[in-house]
Amino acid sequence: MAIFSVYVVNKAGGLIYQLDSYAPRAEAEKTFSYPLDLLLKLHDERVLVAFGQRDGIRVGHAVLAINGMDVNGKYTADGKEVLEYLANPANYPVSIRFGRPRLTSNEKLMLASMFHSLFAIGSQLSPEQGSSGIEMLETDTFKLHCFQTLTGIKFVVLADPRQAGIDSLLRKIYEIYSDFALKNPFYSLEMPIRASLFTQPSWAPDPSWCGCFAGGRRQLYWLHKSLQPPRRLCSSCNAWQWC
């Protein structure tokens, strides 16, 4: 998938919508016997591998699950501390799943507001008057594209560096946002988008009622996959025409 994430940030810098569509990450699950030959340490409420890289388990990977049950930060699903649990020889043999740690929603909120501030700094650093903020941030593994509307809402898309057509994708996301989030009369502006139509993947059987952001997301997927117009038109953004 060429698009990694989509973030929608409101005027105040708060994250109101977030979507991750990473490819399945490299995860490794192995059975271990006592003593564990990996060195684990606690960092940022997570248990990370500090030393002992082997077999697909790399330094920096986090403990994701023990014996098939997902861990909750530094605690197992039962509420015991992971490091204590793994120090006890009675619990072995144990099957541990390691993988790249996922961002928690709090971390995403923080990153979004940090980006909001950087965006403002970007426009202030400019030698020219009236410059826009950060439009693109490039790294070797991804490119971050940002589009700020005239009303101050920012749409941020993280995509593959070689991916083209992200500008039209950002405009399309703006259209979908204006349709499904804003036109919902019970949605308050600047609040997190909880409209199920915006997030839920639904292909309703009635062809005249298409959907949602993820229905829109499929359209967006086609959009940059082939740079062709989507095969299905979003027909529920009804605007009245005077006849």
Partner: protein, 181 residues
Amino acid sequence: MSRPAHRRPEYHKINKDLFVLTYGALVAQLCKDYEKDEDVNKYLDKMGYGIGTRLVEDFLARSCVGRCHSYSEITDIIAQVAFKMYLGITPSVICNNSSRNEFSLILDKNPLVEFVEELPAGRSSLCYCNLLCGIIRGALEMVHLAADVTFLQDRLKGDSVTEIGITFLKKLDEKKYRRKK
């Protein structure tokens, strides 16, 4: 195969009478609920404000207008693009007083009052289309411009034309987060 720069979405046609009648029913119900004309006008404006804050995003998403650099440019866009897109009419723009940033939109045809002959007795200061004023005010506020929008003349009240006056007050601070009213 490259995609066109902006693809207009298909608009479904709907009978405009339904919209005009719905608006009429709304105003009639407000007249029943509130005795004073000022109250009805105030609530129409408030409803329009709520609509305007949302409609502006739809407008900006679909019309691809860029950043405007003057108040007259903004009024031109409201008249020629926005009114055309949503109501199918193009009011003409007059600058009343450029030093005080006052502009007027002259509507020669107003679809909303198609079936209204005259205002009822005792409702002589009712602004029937005050929703439009609220919409414009809400939309301008979302793009950080405070404006005062009122009806200067109204055919329903006996004037020759319908005139909406827009007075731009000030630019709102973009960086400070303002709590929504």
